[in-house]
Every structure is written in C-alpha cells, then in structure tokens.
Amino acid sequence: MTKLLETADLVTNFYTYEGVVRALNKVSLVVDHGATFGLVGESGCGKSVTARSIMQIVQEPGRIEGGKVIAYLDEADRQRGIDLLKQSEAYMQGLRGDQISMIFQEPNSALNPTMSIGDQVSESFLFHQKKEMSVEILDRLAAGDIHSLNPFKKFLRAVYRIAAENPDDLRLRILDKVPLLKRWQKRLQNEARQRSLEIIDKLGIPNPAQVVSQYPHNLSGGMKQRIVIAMALACNPVLLIADEATSNLDVTIQAQILDLLRRLKEEVISSILLITHDLGVVAETCDRVGVMYAGNLCEVADVEDLFETPRHPYTRALLDAVPKLELEGELHSIEGNVPNLVTPPPGCRFHPRCPQAMGVCRREFPEMKEVKKRHQVACYWVNP
C-alpha cells in the first residue's frame, strides 16, 4: 500500500501558566491510501492534538516544535512528498477543506448558528472551487442557459473568463468592492448553493431543499453531524480527519453515521483518520489502529492483530477495561490516573500504572520496535 500521510517525530507543546505541557512526544504514524486509520486513547492523551497538528490549527498557547508532516497527495509528489510544516499559511488554507478536511467533535460548536445551512456548506465551494464553477458558468452562458440582459451578459462573460483563469485576480477584487457590479458573484453563489444541495442530498438527508434554508438550531444532533460531514466532503477530500465524529450521538444515530462514513469511504474519500475513545467503533470501522497514551504512540497494528494479540501492557489493560457483550466475572481496571503532562513521568510514560514495569522503564523512553510485520510496539517487555 502507498502512503498518503506520514508524521515523523511530531512534537507539540503548550505553554501554559503551570508550565510546558508536553502534549505530543515524538508521534510517528503513517496513513495509507484507501485505509481507515484509528487513533484511540483516553482523554488528554493527544489524539486531537495530533489531528490539529497535521492540519496546523493547534490552538494558542500550543506550538508545533519539531518533526515532519509529510503528505503524498498528488501523483507528482507521490515519491517525495511535501512537508506540510514547511509550507506557507496560504498553501495550508488552500489544502484545508479541499484535499484534507476535518470533522470536529461537536456539531453544535462546529456550525455557525447565525448562518443558514446552505450558506455554510456553500462556503467551502466558494473558497476552493471558484475556478471550476466559473468554467461551468461560462459553459452555461455560451449555451444560453442563463437569461439576462445582453450588455450585462457580455460583462458576465468577461468577468467569468477572468475568474476561470485566476480567481484571485486583482481586477476581480476591485470589482467586489463596487456596488451593483459585485453582483457578478450571484451566479457563483447560486452555483455553490446548487452544489451544496447535491451533496446534502447525497448524504441521505430528507428533503434537502428545505434543509438548505434552515438554521442549525432547526436540526437534530444526527442531522447536524451529517451537515458537518457534508461540509467536510464538499470538495472531495483525499483524507478525512474525523475527530470524535460520533461521540456525542446516540447509539442508533451513531450506527447511521458510521454506516454513512463506511459508504463514503468506498465511493468518495480515499482515507479516513478516525479519532475516537470508543474501542467498539475502532473495531468496526478501522483497518489499522494506533493506541496513544499521554502524548506517545505506544502501539500500532492492523485491527485484527491489535484486538487479538495486543502486545503493549496499556493496550491489553485498555481492552480488559471495556465492558463486552459476553463478559463473565470482574471487569479489570487500570489503577491510578493519567499523568499530568506538565511533569510527565521519566522513561516510559506508562510505567507508574504498568504492572510489569522494571528498572529500565523508569529511566529510558522506549523506542518503537517492529515485533511483527506491520505491528509496532514501544515497550521494553516486548521482544521482536
């Protein structure tokens, strides 16, 4: 399988009043083309920070301080890859929502309560697909589908010809400031609206024409999450990052959304990076899983491998701590609490809670080792 995205030794720190929170400590993971990569762990272990670091939208006072995020997006750079951390902000803006897009945890806070659903979904078309849409409008003008007064039609044709070449043209930006003339964008907005209607329809939302003119508070939780997914999928991304996309939903709605994601992965998107704390969701949707603990990746393996032969003590404890359908006897629990990342324990960060910790675990940080093909573990106990 070919790589799509790779992070190498990613380090992100947060500079708070209490001290430096070492949220990510050299996280290296690989997302393959056509695969669903699951990132699991407890809250505060750095799952979301990993996703935000990839997108470079880490909130203040966080800073990405080291490592690489290499993307192999186009055919041209399949070989070398681009280091996203070295790219400009403008480049990243063009990438976010277009080739890599993200679904945020809470649909309530991800949607703007003062904008209609149609406007919010249109936004990403207007930002990323001005060029394609201008070409389409030009075609329609030539075919005579658009009715307008003749001199204005001429003007439209000229403007859209410019937009089809370069949507950021200076002339267009000046035009946008002039009253009446800035109405040239109306066609573009209509086109974006039309496209958002199509994508909303594709996600199985009943009567899309009505939904487009509604506001977020009119919709239920599951519907809102679908709209957020529609926004993320608007520009056919190569990689979709789903940050706890189903955590706030009820089980029956969660089943609908997971079903939808599975279908979309087959049809539209190439890969998904699924961030969740629910091991059940991981078992059902992912191909490959990374387990995180206190800012470290401690085990990466294929999903069958991880659930059947977990090697890291933390993974094993985590799997034992989850209530299962056929469970007899006592539920195992992990003693103690997740460490404070301002003063993380020295050596392996899991050693204070690890039943098998030995001397070397307290002193030195274990490196990632390959124990089997496609199965890496960071633990001194595990021998290749």
């Binding site: 407890e42 089943a255 359908l325 629990s333």
Partner: protein, 350 residues
Amino acid sequence: MDKILELKNLKKHYPILGGVLRHEVATVKALDGIDLDIYRGECLGVVGESGCGKTTTGKAVIRLFDPTAGQVYYRWKNPENGRPVDIAAIRKSALKRLGIRSKLQMVFQDPTTSLNPRMLVKNIIAEPIKTQQRLGGRELEKRVMDLLHLVGLTRDHLLRYPHEFSGGQRQRIAVARAIATEPEFIVLDEPTSALDVSVQSQILNLLKSLQQRLNLTYMFVTHHLLVVKYISNRLAVMYLGKIVEIAGTQDLFSSPVHPYTLSLLSAIPIPEVNGKPRRIVLSGDVPSSVNPPAGCRFHTRCPFAVDRCLREEPRLKPVNHGHLVSCHRRGDTQKLAREKFDQKRIGSRT
C-alpha cells in the same frame, strides 16, 4: 422479592410558555405514564436515547421535582413505619421529617458540576450527615474518613478542593456523599459517561462492591448498553417517555422482543474484530416529545409497523416470566428480524 419502590402511571409534563401573556402553548411530555417496580437489592438499568426521559424518571423517583400525575410508593425497610408512603404526593417537609430524603440518594452525571468548588471535600461529605444527626467534630471526621476509605480515597484527600482531583476521584467523592446518609436506594444518573475507559471500570467495580457491602438498591440510568449489562440485573428500555421493554439483563440481551430494543442492541459497537456486524439501522430521528406520534410511538421508525400500530397504543404485556413488552407484534418480531435482517442472535457477525 419485596418491592422497594413502585411507580404507578407516573407522568411529568413540562409546559412551553409563549405568546404575549406567557401562557402555556404546548407541553413536553417527558414522562408519559410509567409503571415500574423496583425490587430491594437489585440494580435496575434504565436505557434509552437522549431525550427519552431516563433522567426525568430518575429524578421523579426521589422527588427532585413534583410529577404531574401518578404515584411513587416507597416501602420502608422496617415494618413499624407502617404503610408504603406515596412520595409523589406527600408534603416536602414531611419527606424530610420522616427521614425519607436520607434513604433515597442520587449520584449525578458530571462530578465537576455536582460538587461545590468552594467547599473542602471534608465539608462536602459532612454536609448530608449534619442534616441527619448532631455529631461532634471528631466523630464527624471519623465518619467522613470511614466513607472516604469505603470509596478508595485516603486521609490526604480530606482537606482539598474538588478541582484538585481527577474526574474519577471526583466521582468517588460524589459517591461518598451519596452513601453518607446510609441510604437504601441510589439513583445513578450516567455516573461514568464523563469518565475515561480505564477510570470507568474502576468506578463500576466500586459501585458493585458498595452495593454488596451496604445492601443498596440502584437505579442505573445510562445510554451505554455494555456498561449497564455489566452492572444491572434488570433492564428497562425507554423510548419517548414510555417504557417499551422490561426484562432481566440476560434475558433482554439473549432474546429481545421489541423492535427498538433489537435495533438498539444491534447498534452497539462491540470491541471485537471477528467478522462484520449485522445491523438493524433505523431511519430517521427520535420524534419530538411535544407531539409524539399517535398509536405506537415507535411506528415512525419501526421496520415492522403495521396498520394497527398507527392507530392503537400498545400496553406493557408479559411475553415471558418477568419480561414485559409493549408491542402489538411481540409474538413475531424476532422471526421478522431474522428474516429481514438476517439476525441470528444479537451481536452475531458474518
């Protein structure tokens, strides 16, 4: 088995005020006629989706608000206290005077918001004891220490504020506060949903051991089916302010009858990897409880609905010993699920 609490046709309607004069324009029917018996020493799980009235039931049982209609009979442990008391109708001052308040306790969902941030742990736990009996400072501290030990905390934690604890420890404090008055019955309102997996199992084990040591009766309100399976003996499934199915936990998981239960159980993501699950994915959302659908409330999403379901509201009827279902087609839902969705048993995989 003797009953500890008996709910009879319990209703709670919340008014929606509107118009110029703020008159009542509609009602949210959060609870719409619940009949439920809770037996002494059991753990009754109440499951359902958000907005189905689980929490409202929990709060109504211990009279945190006044129900619109219906009765809640509380049967005292010692017989000299006489006849069962209707907590839904009795005056609130009498509730306190008779000492019923101390026998019925609650643990809330989010320990961060249910503990007063300006009180020391010592005072948080001592407060309910002080309302019950007069104790000297030293005796009081001894009681508080005993309680802290019971929930797995130590003397170091006595003089701290809630914000100095992790989520799991805070929930332990909330549990200690609930058992401080030596209750018989505790409503646990999603006690683990704000916690991480590894801490969740600690709290579940703690609750289980406390139940045995202190002879408690629990009502465990949650939306997490696997958690409730671990801790409960009996389960009540709710949908839109009504109970649709009650059965023993084993019974419910092995042979669910109501279509809603069937789909709910098949929708649980199970942390196992052998094969892909066979799902009954329901279409649509839960209808609004302002004007619930006529007839069976589930008919808008039910894959097996027939004409009768649209017209007539089903009642809870037994299908087995201790297994009650409110469905017109309770005889053949399992067969239909097998035919239509290829479900051999719940959680079966291809």
